[in-house]
């Protein structure tokens, strides 16, 4: 069981991932904006963060990842991104950031099961 923080401004994407992750026994927290995510992160450190690159603004997700990484360098982050955007999203990071083992990029649409498997694989590696 892991503590997962889900961040996405689409309520349905948060909801579906939450349902499947909870069913698999994970403890899930949900944030619908970068601001909410910050609040939850200050309250409690999760085992993994899953977030959408394209939140309220094009850069909100990227900024949030940088911020989280600066504060918690070993916290794994899975970035979800629309197809054709994974590359764009990756390019928003400097090469040394892109290669960080704790940051992974996942194509959207990623089925909730795929997200769950990714999270479980990350946590198993640790």
């Amino acid at each position: 069981m892991a503590k997962v923080l889900l961040v996405d401004d689409d309520v349905d994407l948060v909801e579906m991932n939450q349902l499947v992750l909870a069913h698999r026994g994970h403890d899930v927290r949900c944030a619908y904006s970068a601001a909410e995510a910050r609040e939850l992160l200050s309250a409690e450190r999760p085992d993994v963060v899953v977030l959408d690159v394209m939140m309220e603004s094009e850069l909100a997700g990227v900024d949030l990842v940088r911020e989280i990484h600066a504060r918690m360098p070993d916290l794994p982050i899975v970035m979800l991104s629309g197809i054709h955007r994974v590359k764009d999203a990756a390019e928003r990071f400097a090469p040394h950031e892109r290669d960080l083992p704790v940051i992974r990029f996942l194509d959207k649409p990623a089925t909730p099961e795929r997200v769950a498997c990714e999270i479980e694989a990350i946590l198993k590696d640790r």
Partner: protein, 396 residues
Amino acid sequence: MIVETLRILSVDDEPGMRLGVARALGGFTVHLPDVGAEVGFVVDTAASGEEALTMIEASPPDILLLDHKLPGMSGLDVLERLANGDRDILTVMITAYASLETAVSATKRGAFDFLAKPFTPDELKVTIRKATRHLMAQRQARRLAEERRRVRFQFISVLAHELKAPLGAIEGYLHILKDRSAGDDPAVYDRMIERCLVRAEGMRKMIIDLLDLTRIESGEKKREFVEIDVREIAQASIETVRPEADARRITIGLHADAPVRMTGDRGEIEIICNNLLSNAVKYNRDGGRVDVTLCARDGMVVLTVADTGIGMTKEEAARLFNDFVRIRNARTKGILGSGLGLSIVRKLAGLYGGDATVTSEPDKGSVFTVTLKQEGPSRADVDGSCRTGAVAAAAG
């Protein structure tokens, strides 16, 4: 007014000619009010075709004054070499023998104009003025085309993203439904089906909004101007949103003492009323109020829709009427919309010689005001003056 300096390269083997050109054009300016530009010149000189090519290679001029008869390679040879590049240079051929043959050859190689030797400074200025006008108009057209391409690209990218979001939600839920990967509680799956239907409906609404916007901007839609009563249309819009309002205990009041008549296309005024009413309910708090006020003032119909909803900041309000702008924050989470409704409202109001504006305060509510000319759109407005929009660009 753009103040621009164009670079001229004068290529002539006679030093007197080079000096004469530099003198005639130093301090000469061309005023182009239609393009909004004031153009001055700096003149460089070259004594041979070879020297000219080296200079062009290093730093291409805007206008090339090219003598045909040069020692070594001829003016036509220079043109030939330049034709292979994609440089943005306007060439004026200068020739003592203004033969038809030279003219044809030079034109084939891309020369813009001719000047026969000998010429007076005034003749040179007339030619340069003509070349400048052409060059500046060409550049302006290119800039506009570039801007249209950019707007079109941006519109389509955002549209694709906005259509992908509900599709992603529906697909995700369908995968869970297919694999039963969220446990055994049937109520959970029923809720997913419900959400799929909501998102599919949202997608349908967005496509309808998009079609409305396309019709408005393209000027293709046949518009029928008749005498209409805006109060009656507003009343019908209120009835449309009534079920949702009732479910959330939102009261809607219509304040208009008498029919408010104007000339307009019924469908367009309905779109305005429906969008404003649907927003006023959607972004309201449970148990809130919506007040619709209608009056005619100085030849304008003034429609205001006030809600007691979540409101927005000044910065948010400033962006609100643009295409695909949806205010995304904790308060709007879970509220669906195409982000096109208000953009459509403003464009329509513009067609009726009016405008759409908003005043708002976070957590207090918003007041939307739409003004429309009672006499309906002016002739110029009807003739598709709003064709410059993004959809028209996307369709073009």
